[in-house]
Symmetry: C2
């Protein structure tokens, strides 16, 4: 009897750590966490979303000790509490075979992913860019399309050139004939998907028509794992609209 009990105590935590779906904690919108959700979805991983809705949610989370620096996003996976965006992206990508190990390829993938995070800064601000009124589409599109430091003018030409080197659809060359998807593709996909999310599929195709390899990469990433299902089926069910999302973030943080 004692032996059975002991066995239960030992086995239960191990099994639960191995089989529990990762838990992603954030507000009901894209924010800083959507690239991480896309990595999990592209890797085919089912994950649970935990949404912050009340001020107490964040207070309780901070009190739990899970937030190393008191900030979300939080990704709970493999018994770890991952809290810093970029190292978390590397962790999820590495566990899913989406992170190369050689220094040169790791740098290439990292610099494209980090540049994608820079390029999405105006999108990250979009829900908040006209508070207390609803967000200004004009303002975010000016930053993304017209600014020499924005997505279309600074980043897309570089990425298109990079994809031309491998002939696409992905940034990393394969060891045989097929090129390999990586964190770099997911990061850039997510920025294009953000643009599409605030505009439309039609406008995505028109705006990026002069970057055919980027669009080809976007479409290839959409075929990975569960990412199309996340985008088209799951996400629309759980996200707030942009203005309500911004109000909910502010209310929780105030």
């Amino acid at each position: 009897m004692l032996q059975t009990k002991l066995l239960l105590y030992i086995i239960v935590p191990i099994v639960s750590a191995m089989t529990a779906a990762p838990k992603v904690t954030y507000w009901r919108g894209r924010g800083r966490v959507e690239p991480l959700r896309c990595i999990l979805a592209a890797a085919g991983v089912e994950f649970e979303n935990v949404f912050l809705t009340r001020k107490e949610d964040l207070q309780e989370l901070r009190a739990s000790g899970k937030l190393e620096y008191d900030q979300v996003p939080l990704v709970e996976i493999d018994g770890l509490n991952l809290v810093q965006g970029l190292p978390t992206a590397y962790y999820l990508a590495q566990k899913s075979g989406l992170l190369p190990s050689s220094p040169v390829e790791l740098y290439l993938v990292g610099q494209i992913y980090v540049a994608a995070q820079d390029a999405r800064a105006p999108f990250l601000q979009y829900p908040f860019n006209n508070l207390p009124d609803p967000p200004s589409l004009e303002k975010v599109l000016a930053a993304a399309e017209q600014s020499p430091k924005g997505l279309v003018q600074r980043y897309c030409p570089k990425w298109e050139t990079q994809l031309a080197k491998t002939n696409g659809p992905f940034f990393l060359e394969g060891e045989t004939t097929t090129n390999r998807p990586s964190l770099a593709d997911i990061g850039v996909f997510e920025v294009l998907d953000f643009y599409r999310h605030i505009t439309s599929e039609d406008r995505l195709r028109v705006t990026f028509a002069s970057f055919p390899k980027l669009l080809q990469m976007h479409d290839a990433v959409l075929e990975l794992g569960r990412i199309k299902h996340w985008r088209d089926v799951e996400r629309p069910k759980v996200f707030l609209d942009w203005h309500d999302y911004a109000k909910s973030v502010c209310a929780t943080l105030s």
Copy 2:
């Protein structure tokens, strides 16, 4: 004769790529590049500093095509032009044995390094925080010491706890008895060294007296490679004072 010439043509570029010292391009101060200089110095690597002083320097650099996203710092090494801070830090650390390969350790090192970059944000702003007048020491110390989101209150307690787990002096446990230095140690060292740089050795010891393991780590990093030589001998010769540095950055970018 023809053969000799051919041999020369083939050998020269290879040898120069292997033996050329890395070139670090930035202004004459710490800015966004000092963590990268510290990684190279801790790894014992001699590097050449190229300083931006005239507006034309940046224009010429952009025209050269070496800046993937038109931004410095630039680190030229192994025939590559590295331009994004964090992926560059990973590259330099990986080539120097300062980056672990397992996902859990890579996450730990990455999150500490990224947190150190967050913690140094007020220091990064310090030279510019009172323009056109000389910088305000009071303002930067308030952000670092008094703010609940600053270095002393948010970050140091977490890092001290983390170092207590390995019993120091470094964040990663060793495979035998000695713990291993990594990118995490260099990143946190650099923030403490920034604090020391704008204040004094005495004030460093007083402010961080309640974090003995952090100070122990600081001192252990100072023994690595050429880092003490860089700090005490080379850097003072080439850096501008804070106010002149800020003016020089503004003049180049205007």
